[in-house]
């Protein structure tokens, strides 16, 4: 019912094209994450869904209706903004109440629904305060409550956790995921953080230069990136040019090989020289010069590490060598 379809969307700003012929289907009750570097068109796409931008070409269909001409205020789509966008002159209570007033919800229902939304995000005792008196995490919860109070069909979240510190961010990721599953609302979540994207998404769309480079489940995208860009951007990867792929026993094509799929061996079919070591906490990353390329291997903590300059072999499962369709 609240599925969203983007059909061949183009967005131009003067000579610059922000989104190029994009089609995207978002299922009802799905948690879709739009992932990409800054300027890739993911936020523009989200703003077009919200109605804050109008596509230059193509159609946006929400719940079976073309909404190109419908103002943001009439779309029944809620949004959580990067900077939270709480109204500074209103109390938290009034902030959450604002969408109810705007959408003509009977006043008698306001209090109940505000408290319900506040409880849902565990906001309890701050309702009388002004946004300025709240911490980042609390503001985040207010923004969520305000977006949810009207029971929207679709919730858009534009890098909502970007301003929080790491610990709080991870806690909020779990909460958001649980909330979405409980409410059954379609979530569209924009982020440039690949860890966040992988851990939260039902479905993940990787954006690059105004196009969707790949869309699929997080597992699918991590294991089988279609292009060099996706392999490189989602997780870290050794992106192998065709000649290196062949030297490692694959076809003469671009391929991706995750560092954690590589094992250091003594001798073996493929040997190289260790050029650098980097300690990562849970293990170390070892750079090995091999077949004219530099490959990174992940060595879990506790296993022996070679010295720089040492000669080592590399072992891997042939299945881990993912040959990419795209270039």
């Amino acid at each position: 019912m609240a599925s969203i379809h983007l059909q061949n969307i183009v967005k131009r700003y003067g000579a610059f094209t922000g989104v190029q012929h994009m089609s995207l289907d978002i299922q009802d009750e799905e948690f879709l994450v739009l992932l990409g570097p800054s300027g890739c068109g993911k936020t523009t796409t989200m703003r077009m869904i919200a109605g804050l931008e109008t596509p230059t070409e193509g159609n946006i269909v929400i719940g079976g209706e073309v909404v190109n001409e419908i103002d943001a205020r009439d779309r029944d789509v809620a949004m959580v903004f990067q900077g939270y966008a709480l109204y500074p002159n209103m109390s938290i209570y009034e902030n959450i109440r604002f969408p109810l007033r705007m959408r003509g919800v009977p006043a008698a229902e306001h209090d109940r629904r505000i408290r319900q939304a506040a409880d849902m995000v565990e906001l309890g005792s701050f309702l009388d305060r002004k946004p300025g008196a709240l911490s980042g995490g609390q503001r985040q919860r207010v923004a969520l409550a305000r977006a949810l109070v009207n029971e929207p069909r679709v919730l858009l979240l534009d890098e909502p956790l970007g301003a929080l510190d790491l610990k709080l961010r991870e806690a909020m990721q779990d909460e958001l995921k649980a909330l979405q599953q409980r409410l059954g609302i379609t979530f569209v979540f924009v982020t440039h953080d690949q860890h966040e994207a992988l851990s939260m998404a039902d479905s993940l769309a990787v954006f690059n230069e105004g196009r969707i480079a790949q869309i699929g489940t997080p597992e699918d995208i991590y294991a089988r990136p279609r292009t060099r860009f996706v392999a490189d951007f989602v997780g870290s990867s050794n992106v192998l040019p065709p000649d290196v792929t062949r030297a490692l026993g694959g076809p003469a094509h671009w391929a991706s090989l995750r560092p954690e799929s590589l094992r250091l061996t003594f001798g073996g079919p493929v040997t190289g020289t260790v050029t650098a070591l980097r300690y990562l906490g849970a293990g170390s990353r070892v750079s090995v010069q091999i077949a004219g390329a530099e490959l990174a291997a992940f060595v879990p903590a506790g296993q022996p590490l070679p010295e720089p300059g040492a000669s080592v072999g590399l072992g891997f499962d042939m299945a881990a060598l993912h040959v990419m369709e795209g270039a």
Partner: protein
């Protein structure tokens, strides 16, 4: 180390000499003029200036008995307050459009509004005089209200525009997705968020309106429309010569409320005076 300390000390002395003397330049004429307000007429224009007068409330009695000072005050307040209200009603929507919408001709319209500030009152004095005469508005407070509003409209628009530009776009987007229309956003989000700018604009407009002289001189010809500013010029009447003690008293009556208003908006004053070009 010693030399550093020495230059510091010297520059401090110089600093306080400079600042102290300018403070004296500012304050002494004001204090002296205050004494003028409280001395009898016989001690004002004398062959030898009298610096320490015999205090008297002559001017006060003169003002309250011979001059309809309450009427002047009422005219001033009415014309000034009315003009500020007109300005805000016209300027807030205009500033909203200029600061938060993209539309063809925006820059030109904005600059045209700004440029009306550059026009010398004398340029339009003759036509405005005829305009108000034909409308039968000469010598009324309404004419003053309209003309003060016109003088300050550019300033008020630009100050408010500058403050509106500072409001994050996100706030507006949020209100839009929450279901608010353009006018609701203006009323409920933008106006409260730039209230300091609106107040600053109103205070500065009020001060300029209180001070306005040329138009008031042309439009007001009886105490029906005389304001404080022009009433002063009237204490130069006839055989008495200039009645300085009354003038001094009246100017302090206007000065004190203005001083209080300005202290209240002190933080925003530089931004207001430059029509938003300087962010204090």
């Amino acid at each position: 180390m010693a030399s550093v300390r020495k230059t510091r000390g010297e520059s401090l002395l110089l600093r306080y000499i400079v600042l102290g003397s300018w403070a004296a330049v500012c304050l002494l004429p004001i204090l002296w003029f205050l004494t003028v307000g409280f001395r009898p007429r016989t001690e004002i224009i004398t062959p030898q200036p009298i610096y320490w007068p015999n205090w008297s409330l002559d001017a006060w009695y003169l003002l309250t008995s011979d001059w309809p000072i309450a009427q002047y005050l009422r005219n001033s307040v009415l014309a000034v307050a009315g003009s500020v209200v007109i300005d805000l009603i016209l300027a807030i929507p205009a500033a909203y459009a200029l600061s938060r919408y993209e539309f063809k001709g925006r820059e030109d319209i904005g600059f045209y509004i700004l440029s009306t500030r550059m026009m010398a009152p004398a340029i339009v004095a003759v036509p405005i005089f005829f305009l108000f005469r034909n409308m039968g508005l000469l010598d009324t407070v309404w004419a003053l209200m309209l003309i003060y509003a016109a003088i300050n409209l550019s300033l008020v628009t630009w100050i408010i525009r500058s403050y509106m530009l500072d409001i994050p776009k996100e706030l507006e987007d949020a209100a839009r997705t929450d279901g608010a229309g353009d006018l609701t956003i203006l009323r409920e989000i933008i106006v409260p968020a730039c209230l300091p700018g609106i107040i600053t604009a109103a205070v500065i407009a009020a001060i300029f309106a209180i001070n306005e002289f040329l138009f008031t001189l042309l439009i007001a010809s009886t105490s029906k429309a005389y304001t404080m500013s022009v009433a002063l010029a009237n204490f130069t009447g006839g055989s008495d010569g200039v009645i300085y003690n009354a003038i001094a008293l009246v100017s302090f009556l206007a000065f004190v409320p203005i001083l209080i208003l300005v202290i209240l908006i002190q933080k925003h004053l530089s931004r207001g005076l430059t029509m938003g070009a300087v962010k204090g």
